[in-house]
């Protein structure tokens, strides 16, 4: 079938040795992987990079037409409906009805896995997830998932990320991953999280700041499969759910996808390091320390997300919100390393590697953006950081990025973290727009374009 062939481009399976798992666990995983593969054809129906509203809305519709119609029918802007035109009128259809024929076999696999798993709590989770796919009760499934004890096997499946809706940043696209916890890496990530959160007690916290740090779980997984949107974006980590009110009540789960991270480091971040930094500088940073720095960067980004949650940020900053949401977490993550260094939780060299990999990742997002414009909010955010550092002289370009002045650069990270948090906590849309206009130019990346030839996404 044609759609199956195409949808294979939306599935990525990773190799990982499962011999340490029990027979029962391997049987459960087999079912989950089958369910995961079936998500890609649904995502294929939703995506269309040619249109800012993908296939979530009629292609000829104007943004204002939807906004006006949504005043009478708010379901048009529900995250889990698609919008169609019927007799000239805009109507909404819930995902679980629109895609029912595709969802039935997925739910069947989940229920079969639920039946055979010997972990009853996980079995219940799979049952609720199957129900959610078929009746739209996503919150119920999410709440159970966030409340259960960590289990070595994890699956996240359903309509989740909003990046493909460039019209309203509202409609969720289908995706899934299946992973098996890497216990030692998870332990280190948990320690990093607890060290940072332990010292994060604000003296004056704004009333609209959301505080749920005690309810955040973090895990590093050996990823077995990506399917749907996540395959296209190739994420190395995520923090779910996206719904701020759910997060506040039930917390969130941070997942780092180890195989996806390894692949990105090898094919993107490390080659970029060799291309954008001066030769003499490169000698001081062996691959192992850079890889650890890059992984910590990923974990720090996710750990910092919950520190930047403000109730009204999305409605105040509108489509600019994802730019500030992503870059503020990345910048704050580096800033938080200051306390880690002072407490001997990391060494100076390790902090330098984290900063160096932050810079490499900014170029990585730009290369990603050239391939898929829907990652623009990441790229713009990193452009803001790079332009800010170049403007105040903490980064210099000569023949590539020369030896960074880490002292000055770290002060710049602290300053920028403060500015970004101010915008995300109380800034107006106009202020946010002015800041993006001033620092968000992508020209900074284009100056390095010739150096990056040959780096493959």
């Amino acid at each position: 079938m044609n759609s199956t062939v195409k949808s294979n481009q939306l599935i990525k399976e990773f190799k990982h040795d499962l011999s340490g798992l029990s027979v029962n666990e391997r049987q459960v995983l087999e079912k989950l992987i089958k369910a995961a593969r079936l998500i890609a054809p649904i995502y294929q129906k939703q995506q269309d990079p040619k249109y800012p509203g993908a296939n979530f809305y009629p292609h000829d519709v104007e943004k204002t037409e939807i906004e006006n119609a949504a005043k009478k029918d708010p379901s048009l802007l529900d995250p889990y409906t698609i919008v169609k035109r019927k007799n000239g009128k805009l109507i909404s259809v819930p995902y679980h009805l629109e895609y029912r024929q595709y969802l039935l076999p997925i739910a069947k696999q989940l229920l079969e896995a639920a039946k055979i798993t010997i972990n009853r709590e996980f079995g219940k989770r799979l049952e609720l997830q199957a129900d959610a796919l078929l009746d739209g009760t996503y919150d119920v499934a999410d709440i159970y998932w966030l409340s259960m004890r960590p289990y070595k096997i994890d699956i996240v499946i359903g309509p989740i990320e909003r990046y493909d809706d460039r019209l309203f940043f509202t409609k969720c696209a289908y995706q899934t991953w299946v992973g098996v916890m890497d216990e030692s890496e998870t332990q280190e990530a948990v320690q990093l999280k607890e060290t940072i959160y332990a010292s994060h007690q604000r003296i004056f916290a704004p009333f609209h700041k959301i505080d749920f740090l005690d309810k955040i779980q973090v895990r590093v997984d050996n990823t077995l499969i990506f399917s749907g949107l996540i395959t296209r974006f190739g994420f190395t980590s995520t923090n779910l759910p996206n719904d701020v009110s759910l997060m506040e009540k039930y917390g969130s789960e941070i997942t780092v996808f180890k195989q996806s991270f390894d692949e990105k480091f090898k094919t993107l971040h490390h080659p970029i390091f060799h291309r954008v930094f001066e030769k003499n500088f490169q000698i001081s940073y062996p691959v192992d320390i850079l890889k650890r720095g890059s992984l910590r960067n990923t974990v720090l980004h996710e750990i910092s997300h919950p520190l930047m949650r403000y109730r009204d940020a999305e409605s105040r900053l509108k489509e600019l919100f994802p730019i500030f949401d992503e870059i503020s977490a990345s910048v704050y993550g580096v800033k938080a390393c200051g306390a880690l260094l002072l407490k001997n939780a990391i060494s100076q060299k390790e902090l330098e590697a984290i900063i160096v990999m932050f810079i490499c990742k900014s170029f990585s997002w730009w290369l990603d953006y050239l391939k898929q414009p829907s990652t623009i909010h990441y790229t713009k955010g990193y452009a803001i950081a790079l332009n800010y550092f170049l403007e105040n002289g903490s980064l210099k370009e000569t023949d590539g990025i020369s030896w960074p002045n880490f002292t000055k650069l770290f002060v710049s990270f602290e300053e920028l973290a403060t500015i970004l948090e101010r915008i995300i906590s109380v800034g107006s849309y106009k202020e946010a727009q002015q800041f993006v206009d001033r620092y968000g130019s992508l020209d900074v990346f284009q100056r390095f374009q010739s150096r990056l030839i040959g780096v493959k996404i």
């Binding site: 948990v190 320690q191 990093l192 999280k193 607890e194 060290t195 332990a198 010292s199 994060h200 007690q201 604000r202 003296i203 004056f204 390393c337 200051g338 306390a339 880690l340 260094l341 002072l342 407490k343 001997n344 939780a345 100076q348 902090l351 330098e352 880490f406 002292t407 770290f410």
Partner: protein, 156 residues
């Protein structure tokens, strides 16, 4: 002979390390040694991955035993002093204000340090800078990259 540096330990920390050493010597070392011997019996050790892995594990165990023996030969017990002393010593729990945030931690010797559990080494930049400081004082903590100003709110 080089002077051996004193390593500070609390009574609880001492007990934990003694227990760990005892466990390593009585249980782990014999188990891993037996694993190496069994792997050796598999045949040609030049292409024996089980032998390599067992040897590696034994190396880690022996390394940890040596480290613990060194610590337990050179430790100095932290005696809990009355709070009235009024300045930060090893063993003090301090509440500080830094960059608009409140932080609380206990200063311990390096073997017990675990920043995720609010135990900071006396050899860390923060630990070194705070030792001897009094409540109400503001201390500048600096490294080549990071500098921060810690105001001591309370010493417990």
């Amino acid at each position: 002979m080089p002077q051996t540096k004193k390593i500070f330990l609390t009574a609880e920390g001492l007990e934990v390390l003694q227990r760990e050493l005892d466990n390593l010597v009585r249980i782990t070392r014999p188990r891993v040694t037996e694993r190496v011997q069994r792997a050796r019996e598999f045949g040609d050790i030049s292409e024996n991955s089980e032998f390599d892995s067992a040897k590696e594990e034994l190396g880690l165990v022996e390394g940890r035993i040596s480290e613990l023996e060194r610590i337990l030969k050179n430790y100095q017990l932290i005696v809990k002093r009355p709070k009235a002393e009024g300045f930060v010593v090893i063993g003090s729990t301090v509440i500080v204000e830094v960059d608009g945030e409140i932080d609380e931690f206990t200063i311990v010797g390096s073997p017990e340090a675990d920043p995720s559990k609010k135990k900071i080494s006396n050899e860390s930049p923060v630990g070194q800078a705070l030792l001897g400081a009094k409540a109400g004082e503001a201390i500048e903590v600096t490294t080549p990259i990071v500098r921060a100003r810690y105001k001591i709110k309370e010493i417990k």
